[in-house]
């Protein structure tokens, strides 16, 4: 495992281009584009203000930089450094900005979700979409970039509009049977739209591309419902994480529940492997060589933690949520399928230090990773069944079916890994680390680039 040097970045804005060739980072009001292989700076752009959002276009030719405070969006071209584009949303303000899948249109959501402005870079044309709904995930493009589904709210009723991204033609517009639509997501094959209600009600609706209601699923009533919904990359499964600490998996034929994964506080499953991270204080002067259960070149680094395999039953630390506060920290909030749809990683919010990995072939618990501190972020390798996670300390953790490893990030002065991103080739991983200065509240955030 090789680590690159540390680069500065701000607002955790650091993205690899979709083709994997370039790396764009934002440092205050500057945009730096580097070559991914050499990490040499290719381009340097200067924006009008501190960048709050940055995104690559799908063809990796343009970079969008949004400055929400100013209501401005600036677009830069990689091929033509002189080319520039500035979009001003005016006094209405800007809430979010994103590329359309073709990379020639920019969709800006204005303050109060008043409207969505679609700017065309080809014709300078502007079009508005009214009544977008303010919700968890109100807009989604299909994987092939043909269609856009948008949640709308009119007359206290929820609607879904399906647009053709090509010319923003409204293809379908239908009312949904939701009390308060919480989000929508296209299946990866782009033919089924999953729509779920807000957390007050457990309801998942499945619509066909042409607006027909395919199925409705509701596991229970009278208690907080859906927290997150994720499609498997094969479109075969729809995993629903809910406030009752369970994940329910629907199949794509009957849209009925195949199985449900519970997250018990005591693991009695003998088939699952429970990896428990054990921290060790390094002895003074002792040459602490790593003791991982797999050694992938780890002898280079002194580690202070290792994984131990615990025999069942294993008690998992559970934090009881405060019932009086809104959005209680309970239930499954994060779901991620591996790229081959073989594994599902989940995190239950009241067991924040634990990541559960489920085998989707046997529909059983495969592994449990119990960390010492709360898991910040986890992401699957886009090529292999390999899970990377970070817990806000100076370590990176990797899980694969073969085993589990913790890697100390070699830095001087304990950087804390806040977030991570896989490169699309699965060869490298971008770690977003932060270091808090002793005095100020301002934090300098840097990122690591690292080749595995």
């Amino acid at each position: 495992m090789n680590f690159s040097e540390v680069f500065k970045q701000s607002n955790q804005l650091c993205k690899v281009s979709p083709d994997g060739k370039y790396l764009a980072t934002c440092v205050q009001y500057r945009l730096v584009v580097r070559d991914m292989s050499t990490l040499q700076i290719l381009q340097l752009y200067t924006c009008l203000d501190q960048i709050s959002h940055m995104d690559w276009s799908s063809d990796s030719l343009f970079i969008l930089c949004a400055m929400y405070k100013r209501g401005l969006v600036q677009v830069w071209s990689l091929e033509q450094p002189d080319w520039h584009c500035k979009i001003d949303e005016g006094s209405i303000g800007l809430l979010s900005s994103r590329w359309s899948p073709d990379g020639r249109h920019i969709l800006n959501t204005t303050e109060f979700h008043l409207r969505i402005t679609v700017w065309s870079l080809c014709t300078k044309a502007v079009s508005y979409i009214k009544y977008p709904k303010a919700c968890q995930k109100g807009i989604d493009f299909s994987r092939d970039g043909c269609y856009m589904a948008l949640a709308e709210r009119r007359d206290c009723k929820d609607y879904v509009s399906v647009f053709v991204c090509d010319d923003w033609h409204l293809l379908r517009h239908f009312e949904t049977e939701t009390q308060d639509l919480g989000g929508l997501e296209w299946s990866p094959n782009g033919c089924v739209l999953a729509v779920w209600d807000s957390c007050l009600e457990y309801k998942v609706l499945l619509y066909s591309l042409d607006g027909r209601l395919l199925s409705t699923y509701s596991a229970y009533e009278w208690s907080l419902g859906v927290k997150t919904v994720t499609w498997s990359p094969s479109s075969q499964f729809l995993a629903i994480g809910s406030y009752d600490e369970k994940v329910r998996v629907l199949n794509h034929i009957t849209w009925k529940k195949i199985t449900q994964f519970e997250h018990p506080a005591t693991i009695n499953n003998t088939k699952a492997v429970v990896y428990k991270e054990v921290e060790r204080r390094p002895a003074v002067g002792a040459d602490d060589l790593s003791l991982h259960n797999i050694t992938i070149g780890t002898t280079l680094f002194n580690t202070q933690s290792k994984y131990e395999i615990c025999p069942p039953p294993v008690q998992i630390p559970v934090v009881k949520p405060d019932p009086d506060r809104a959005n209680p920290k309970i239930g499954v909030s994060t779901l991620a399928f591996s790229s081959d749809s073989r594994y599902l990683a989940t995190k239950n919010d009241n067991m924040a230090s634990v990541v559960w990995v489920w085998d989707m072939q046997n529909m059983s618990l495969e592994a449990v990773l119990e960390q010492c501190s709360a898991v910040r972020c986890f992401q699957w390798d886009p090529r292999r069944p390999r899970l990377a996670l970070c817990t806000g300390n100076s370590k990176l953790y990797l899980w694969s079916p073969a085993g589990c490893v913790s890697v100390e990030v070699p830095t001087e002065g304990g950087f804390q890994v806040q977030s991570l991103n896989w490169h699309c080739s699965g060869d490298s991983l971008i770690l977003l680390v932060s270091k808090y200065h002793l005095l100020g509240t301002k934090c300098v955030q840097k990122h690591y680039f690292k080749t595995l």
Binding site: I87, G90, W119, C122, K130, C191
Partner: protein, 608 residues
């Protein structure tokens, strides 16, 4: 007088006795009287002289009469105390004594009864006491239970009170719940109403805002692009037309259709796989079920219905298998039906097996002690018997072995065995004897031939010598004048010689005879006396053609034939490698070598 006294009193006493008994039994009311009188009597006696004596000198007769009266009343009427002399003071002793005796008897009896009664009385009193105690105990119990009952009553009352309060509580709670539910419902409706109102307001505000924005013609709202970009796909943008709409629709349906097709394809594949599995399962099921059916057909009659079902169903299964590929509704139904039926049957079968197994187990458990024991015992007995037999057998065998090994055993069997052996030996000897006889005869014949031949030879020799002698004599005679004398002497010598040879021959024949008998095979020829006249045996044999004339030429001939045959064989083997035998090349190689060796060897011999 005396007789009268003796006879009468007895009769009277008898009657008296009975009467007294009767009186004792029947005259209970008068008993008290009796007692009184009886008690009063000794009392009066004791105080006889002192106070108011019953009888005084003056009142004897009234006393007597009184006593008589009393005795009468006591039922002793027959006994009559009389004054010994009328008006006299004495008493006639006999009746008085009788009366006394009777009275004493009565008294004793009464005492006895009194005692009994007293005993009874005691018993009664004790039982009474017991009863009283019992009674008091029961009374206590009663008291206790009454107290208990009252206590229970109290608790019951309290509980009922509690129930009442709880019921009222429940009612109030229910009311509360109802109220709360109502409140919740009203709140919910209010909330939703409010939310809707707020949302409407918000949307109105939004409308207003957007209107304002439109009205104000926000100057800032702008896009500033250096030069417009081409579309990512390189095409030019289209106008929004009906055609475009239609094309969008078409595209959409196309993608939907392709998706459905893909899913259908995958489903079909899956279906085919499942069908395959189903078919295999069905086949296996039929396979599993068929032997059982045949066995059950034989076994039970009540399965016949099932049999019919299964037969019909098997047919159905076959037909369904045929139609399996046509995925029409009918075939599917048939298939599933048949599968279901077979499955049911399998299940039944399994259940039956299970029940059988459990029964068997039960039986084993229950009859472990009863039925198997009999059979077990029987078997054991049988086996024991067998073991016994075997033991005996072994024993006898051992005995026999012992007998054979040790000759020192009982005389009878030994004699018998010896007899056997001797008999056998005799037989063998006889056989040998017979053979020997035959050989002897042969030898005799040969000897005869020999002797004849020898005689002939001798004669010839003799004739020859005679000829020679005559020739020599003639010669000599021719030279000398004594021809006659000479002839005579030579003939004498010849005869003597011939005479001497005769017994020697005889001796040699006798010598050879035992040697011949000892070994049948060896032709030890009689040793010829080394005389010039007798020829050697080999000569004899040769003349008799008993020995083959020449062995070596024939031998050489065979050798030669072998030698001339082997070289060509070796040539063959040298030219072409020996054909590999099925057993393997390796095995054939040494044989080849040997042939070569032999060939060479014989080649050399052949050359030489």
């Amino acid at each position: 007088m005396g007789e009268w006294w003796t006879t009468v009193p007895i009769g009277t006493s008898m009657g008296n006795y009975e009467a007294s008994r009767i009186s004792h039994a029947t005259m209970s009311p008068s008993r008290q009287n009796n007692y009184v009188s009886m008690y009063s009597l000794p009392l009066s006696k004791s105080s006889y002289s002192v106070i108011s004596a019953f009888c005084t000198e003056d009142n004897i007769s009234p006393c007597i009469s009184y006593i008589n009266q009393e005795l009468d009343s006591l039922g002793l009427s027959s006994i009559c105390i009389e004054a010994s002399s009328p008006g006299g003071a004495g008493l006639s002793a006999v009746p008085a004594l009788n009366a006394m005796y009777e009275l004493l008897q009565i008294h004793r009896r009464n005492m006895c009864t009194l005692e009994e009664l007293e005993k009874e009385q005691l018993k009664k009193t004790s039982s009474l006491e017991h009863m009283q105690m019992n009674n008091s105990r029961l009374k206590d119990q009663l008291e206790l239970s009454i107290r208990e009952k009252s206590g229970l009553h109290e608790t019951e009352r309290q509980l009922q009170l509690k129930i009442k309060t709880l019921q009222s509580c429940l009612k109030t709670e229910k009311d509360e719940v109802q109220k709360l539910q109502n409140i919740i419902a009203s709140r919910a409706s209010q909330y939703s109403h409010d939310a809707k109102r707020k949302e409407r307001e918000a949307s109105k505000l939004k409308e207003r805002l957007s209107q304002l924005l439109v009205d104000r013609k926000d100057k800032k709202l702008a896009i500033d692009v250096l030069n417009c970009l081409g579309r990512s796909d390189g095409r030019r943008s289209h106008w929004k037309t009906a055609k475009a709409t239609a094309s969008h629709e078409g595209e959409m349906y196309k993608s939907l259709l392709s998706d459905y097709e893909a899913s259908q394809r995958s489903l079909m594949l899956e279906n085919a796989e499942l069908k395959k599995v189903l078919q295999q399962m069905k086949k296996e099921m039929i396979h599993i079920l068929s032997p059982r059916q045949s066995s059950s057909r034989r076994a039970t009659a009540d399965d016949t219905q099932e049999q019919v079902d299964s037969d019909g169903e098997e047919k159905a299964g076959d037909s369904s298998r045929e139609t399996l590929d046509q995925s029409c509704e009918h075939a599917r139904e048939q298939l599933t039906n048949s599968i279901r039926q077979q499955w049911r049957k399998l299940r039944n079968h399994m259940e039956k097996l299970d029940s059988q197994a459990s029964q068997v187990q039960n039986q084993l458990e229950s009859n472990k002690e009863v039925i198997p024991r009999e059979t077990h015992d029987e078997e054991m007995e049988r086996m024991r018997h067998e073991v016994q037999q075997c033991k005996e057998f072994i024993h006898t065998q051992q005995q026999l072995l012992q007998q054979q090994l040790n000759t020192s055993f009982d005389d009878e069997t030994a004699a018998l065995l010896n007899d056997c052996y001797t008999l056998e030996e005799k037989e063998r000897l006889k056989e040998e004897w017979r053979l020997f006889e035959e050989q002897k005869r042969n030898f005799e014949r040969e000897r005869k031939n020999f002797t004849e031949a020898a005689i002939r030879l001798g004669r010839e020799k003799k004739a020859f010598q005679e000829d020679r002698a005559t020739w020599l004599k003639n010669q000599f005679l021719n030279m000398t004048p004594f021809t006659d004398r000479r002839r005579c002497s030579s003939s004498d010598g010849h005869s003597a010689l011939s005479i001497r040879s005769e017994p020697e021959m005889r001796i040699s024949s006798t010598n050879t005879q035992p040697a011949k008998s000892s070994t049948y095979a060896t032709f030890s020829t009689p040793k010829p006396t080394q005389s010039a006249t007798v020829p050697s045996t080999t000569e004899l044999y040769r003349t008799l053609r008993l020995i083959p004339d020449s062995r070596s030429p024939r031998q050489r001939q065979t050798f030669n034939s072998f030698a001339c045959r082997t070289p060509c064989r070796t040539l063959c083997s040298l030219v072409c490698p020996p054909a590999p035998t099925p057993s393997g090349h390796r095995k054939s190689a040494p044989s080849c070598e040997t042939t070569v060796f032999i060939g060479l060897h014989f080649d050399a011999t052949g050359k030489s």
